[in-house]
């Protein structure tokens, strides 16, 4: 099932020589007495995808916020291209080429696609918006991603979830992001739409971007990822190169690992209906592990057909 030969085409890996584009070393974050993150290491280079996996409350969003410049780490170092940085705002991170595509904060639903695309970085002729140029660029960028929008003037809220994600991703790419942080881009999507988004993650990687892909779905992470950081309760429970781990192991770590044991333990200790739920949960996860497999494969297939087209087992 696992396809270890599927490592990305070497030419795209142009960040091999120097320091990684983004490197976190021993990063921690406290909110008062709450330890949200503890001793996290992460790195990503150009032409690579680093996946951050974890369940709700694992500290994924705190990690994103630190990388995106919304928060500063309480401990540890954050380096960009080998030099330590402290970002006071997302704007500063953006200026260093670190762009974040948030799960639901990406767009203004009532605004047309093209206005969303250029929001905050509008193209102007003197004081005037260069509307024709922006519409064309937006349409072309979306076409380059394989989305043929009839009308870039339609409110972005009328697009499907996957398409909206793609607008946000292509927007970041268009504006010269070097590092793309994707916050659960596939969380709200069906299998097919997820496949579409995964395809763009691969495309972004092929274009030489460093991608940090946050997800709770190992089936989405494995086909596109080069490195995997597993988080649980603010701590790293594993940091692997792709060659060190198979998808099944990853799935096991995510779903069948300590997290689930702890959860079913808690439910069982509550007794009664909760204990039943614990057993059901366990069964569900096992079942999910099997039934989600085709979903993962679809992702792999649509992702890989663009570059290799022959990795389906």
């Amino acid at each position: 099932m696992s396809t270890p030969q599927q490592t990305p085409a070497p030419p795209a890996r142009n960040g091999q020589g120097g320091p990684p584009t983004v490197r976190l070393t021993g990063v921690g974050k406290r909110y008062g007495a709450v330890i949200a993150l503890h001793d996290i290491n992460l790195e990503v280079s150009a032409g690579e995808v680093t996946c951050v996996l974890g369940d709700n409350g694992a500290g994924k969003s705190t990690l994103i916020k630190i990388i995106a410049g919304l928060h500063q780490p309480s401990s540890g170092t954050y380096e960009v291209d080998g030099t330590p940085v402290t970002f006071d705002s997302p704007r500063e991170a953006l200026e260093r080429g670190i762009a974040t595509v948030y799960q639901d904060l990406a767009v203004v639903p009532l605004m047309p696609v093209w206005r969303n695309f250029f929001l905050g970085s509008e193209v102007r002729k003197g004081p005037r918006l260069d509307i024709a140029a922006m519409k064309k660029m937006c349409k072309d960028e979306m076409l380059a991603m394989g989305i043929d929008l009839r009308d870039v003037d339609q409110p972005i809220g009328t697009l499907s979830g996957g398409e909206r994600q793609c607008v946000a991703i292509s927007r970041a790419v268009h504006f010269g992001a070097k590092v793309l942080i994707l916050d659960e881009p596939t969380a709200a999507l069906g299998v097919k739409q997820s496949g579409v988004v995964l395809k763009y993650i691969i495309q972004a990687r092929e274009r030489g971007l460093a991608v940090i892909f946050i997800t709770h779905n190992p089936h989405h992470a494995y086909p596109v990822g080069d490195r995997f950081l597993l988080l649980n309760r603010g701590k790293s429970i594993g940091y692997y190169e792709k060659s060190q781990v198979t998808r099944d192991e990853l799935t096991g770590l995510m779903a069948g690992g300590a997290e689930l044991e702890q959860l079913s333990h808690e439910l069982e200790s509550a007794g009664g209906a909760a204990a039943e739920a614990a057993h059901e949960l366990e069964a569900d996860v096992t079942e999910l592990g099997i039934s989600a497999e085709p979903g993962g494969d679809t992702g792999t297939a649509s992702a890989t057909t663009t570059q290799e087209g022959s990795s389906r087992p």
Partner: protein, 352 residues
């Protein structure tokens, strides 16, 4: 990837086509001002038929004048509403500004223009405070400006009483600079035998400027964004706080402008006037298609909303009806507009 450009091949493009049809239909109805235009035509024809005096060019000019005094304020109020905020103090702020100009120049016997400039500073400051408190505290602008509304209302009455021992400001028509200020703010001219107030020109000019700003400038893009989704706007680097404070200050600026017109039109200001007008401005904006929740609307729509207000206001008089019917009509219009807007928004926001 190239094959997706050829539309009618696979199922996904077919879905696209459906979207296309929907948006073509929606485009016809979903223009913010579409409902207001239809309403304005109906109301114009209605009064044209039942109220003969309404047909005169001169009474239409009067209608336009009434419209412009509300429309001037409805314009920035609409922008503010598109930016996701309210200003309930807008009505009394007009009076505050006029009182300030009048009392300052009268009490210190300065040139009328000095009072005008002091009032401008005051109005911008009121707008800034409204905006700053809303942005810094996150308290809904409804509450912040409600507080400002009562404070200004009290100040208007109390300070006027304290300074002049009257309920109105003194007549300032003898002051130096009054004539030139009156020319700027409250003159009129004749077109084809019909007397036209200069506020009509200002109003139309501001609507054009506001429309240009909204649709053709970066600030306009930001106004829609901060009203549509402030967190999204912030995430892509839009200076949300500055845009919102700026919008409140735009309302302040126009409150000053409208206040100056009132002052130089009537030479004196009643300290209790202006109360209730904030609702007229908001109604004009909403009838014109602005969503109460922000992110959607147009300056032209607000202008047409003000025109509807002005036509009903004057039409009832020309028709010889009991003017008490006026508020009933305005309420009904508002309700109808909100129902229409809600319907439009659902269509526009519904994911496919």
């Amino acid at each position: 990837m190239a094959q997706t450009t050829e539309a009618p091949v696979a199922p996904p493009p077919r879905a696209d086509e459906r979207v296309g049809q929907k948006s073509a239909l929606a485009r016809l109805f979903a223009r913010p001002e579409a409902g207001a235009v239809a309403g304005a035509i109906v109301i114009y024809l209605f009064f044209f038929i039942i109220a003969p005096p309404f047909r005169n060019a001169s009474s239409f000019s009067t209608t336009l004048y009434v419209t412009s005094t509300y429309g001037l304020m409805a314009t920035p109020v609409a922008l503010l509403m598109i930016g996701g905020e309210f200003d309930l103090s807008a009505g009394v702020a007009v009076t505050s500004s006029a009182l300030c100009a009048s009392l300052f120049s009268y009490e210190f016997t300065t040139n009328a223009w000095v009072g005008v400039l002091v009032a401008l500073a005051l109005s911008l400051a009121i707008g800034f405070i409204n905006g700053w408190v809303v942005v810094k505290t996150g308290i809904p602008s409804f509450l912040v400006t409600l507080g400002m509304f009562f404070m200004l209302q009290g100040l208007n009455l109390a300070l006027t009483q304290t300074i002049t021992n009257q309920v109105a400001s003194p007549d300032i028509s003898t002051l130096q600079g009054f004539g030139s200020a009156q020319k700027v703010f409250a003159s009129s001219f004749t077109v084809g035998g019909v007397n036209v107030k200069i506020t009509v020109i200002y109003w139309i000019a501001w609507v054009i400027i506001a429309t240009w700003i909204l649709l053709r400038s970066r600030i306009g893009n930001w106004i829609f964004a901060v009203g549509g989704s402030a967190p999204s706007a912030r995430a892509v680097g839009v200076p949300v706080a500055r845009v919102k404070i700026g919008l409140f200050m735009a309302v302040g600026f126009m409150a000053w402008f409208t206040g100056m017109h009132t002052l130089f039109q009537f030479n004196t200001i009643q300290s209790g006037q202006g109360i209730g007008n904030e609702f007229v401005y908001i109604i004009a904006a909403v009838v014109g298609g602005c969503l109460l929740t922000g992110g959607y609307g147009s300056a032209v729509g607000a202008a047409i909303g003000a025109l509807i207000f002005g036509m009903v206001n004057q039409g009832i008089v020309y028709a010889g009806w009991n003017p008490y019917w006026f508020t009933f009509f305005v309420g009904a219009l508002l309700l109808g507009a909100i129902l229409l807007n809600t319907y439009i928004r659902r269509r526009a926001e519904a994911a496919v």
